[in-house]
Point group: C2
Chain length 356, copies 2
Amino acid sequence: MTVTASRVQDIDDLDVTKSVRSRDVSQAVNRLTALVADDMERVNATIIENMQSDVALIPQLAGYLIASGGKRLRPLLTLASARLCGLHEGDEAVHLAASVEFIHTATLLHDDVVDDSSLRRGAASANAVWGNKASVLVGDFLYSRAFQLMVADKNLATLKTLANASAVIASGEVAQLTTANDLNTNHRDYLDVIEAKTAALFAAACQVGGEAARAPWPQVAAIRDYGYNLGMAFQLIDDALDYSADQEKLGKTVGDDFAEGKVTLPVLLAFEAGDDEEQAFWRRTIETLDQHEGDLERAKALIDKHGALRGTVEAAERYGAKATQALNQLSPSTGAAQEIREALENVIAFCIGRGH
Amino acid sequence: MTVTASRVQDIDDLDVTKSVRSRDVSQAVNRLTALVADDMERVNATIIENMQSDVALIPQLAGYLIASGGKRLRPLLTLASARLCGLHEGDEAVHLAASVEFIHTATLLHDDVVDDSSLRRGAASANAVWGNKASVLVGDFLYSRAFQLMVADKNLATLKTLANASAVIASGEVAQLTTANDLNTNHRDYLDVIEAKTAALFAAACQVGGEAARAPWPQVAAIRDYGYNLGMAFQLIDDALDYSADQEKLGKTVGDDFAEGKVTLPVLLAFEAGDDEEQAFWRRTIETLDQHEGDLERAKALIDKHGALRGTVEAAERYGAKATQALNQLSPSTGAAQEIREALENVIAFCIGRGH
């Protein structure tokens, strides 16, 4: 059995969201998008308007990344959270969603510089096209723009939430620099890294939606918890996909994490379960980055042998279950909010079932 | 006459602030520092407290740059502006001054990555010690911390001012990337670049001081104008020093701008006044970066021949005069404020007389 086949098996086994059959999984985000389509159009217009500049390179570079798009999951979460918490009008949620996307785009630009990545979402990364310098500076610009957009709405709660999230993201990225090639990283340290890298912004994206709605704290806390756990599940699956995905379909370079010696959960689980010879293999390839032809295949085989992808997906499922629990604490009062809640529940399955 | 001698002559001629003899110039910042010494101590404590992190690399790298220090001119301007506008208590000006220094430090970290600089203030730059990746990410962290600090004081005016300044800075840096090697840059474009690079943060540093004091707009506008014009003068002199300074004394690599093909005012003035052969020299060295031994000396000689340093210093003097005018619009009501105003006036002469 190949690693990829094993991975498909893993996903087919998923049982997190029983109401969603796996073939429906990819429709979950589309459904959410449809529910907030009017606001999402305004988010896109806000994004385009606010990345304009007399300096032509800024809209060129920012537009390249933003247009290549992905599913705009984070701004969707902001819009959906605001609606779920009872906000149905005004520009604030739209501005916040655009700010969240700007912060996300800024971190992607800086990440690609830090990781020397050449591919992003299946196309050449911005730094590969325009160089590292432009990526650093346009990232800074988008980050500033995010705060400018937020300031206009005069809501200190949301400003605080996104400033805090940004600090957590940056400090987590620095932590990842220092733990990148250390197989003695424990699971807690790994989880801290993915929390900072992904879950912090997912959590903040949801929280600011609740804050824009001026919802009471227990409601804001619940939607924040949902975002946090969804983000953890999302990143765990991302780390699994780096050893299993269909490259063309996923639009990322499979094996990047391995090439960079990133210590992710699939590697940690395979390393911990490995015998002396296998551990020596991991130390050579991950810690000293002494890699040769066939090493990625060997890594995949060892990950398969020890069920490390299965273990990673199971960890994602546990976070997915917590995300569902958090949603259950919210009691929508209207049919429209109920639809949003169901769509958010289905997004959990989408995140875990990505790449299929 | 050597270029350096000519430069000294330029400075000796300075007449901007008649009350300050040039040998007293370097004391101007010290005097301002003494006037706000109690607050400045709290700023330093705030800076140290807020650059702490579980991630050891963050305080290491940030502390390296912040400790190497310079004169902390920007936070000084914030504290002095707040006092001048009547604010004598509370933490807000202290937080803002620390935020301004964090934003400045973040831009320095990113600039050094963008410029591939190896020296900063006479020591190895942070990117030379810890690498570009760490510099990008710690810069992001400090930038986020600046906003976290500001949010705590719940003043939307200051948040807006520094978010706007940050956007201007980033967009100006991108503009500089695209005009770096173009001798057809006109003076207005050059001034836009230095406005974004330096004057925008000087202006904002002063403005937030006035806003923290809840001063009426004409007063805030005047102190902002002072900061803006001081920043323009400061950067013009910085660009002159790159062709004339005593490297050890200045703590920067003389000739960096030339090596990078930066189109600064000394170069523009020499280029515009040059004959065909001289213009060909500038095109070869600045536009195509085809540089050989002796080219920097030739560049300095041409700049000297056409009085281009004198022209640059004169431009700085004009901004210095406007900074003085802006200060004159403020009418301090107390002796303490009068002392601050005089010290701010002397800082203009310091900025123009730097490097001596």
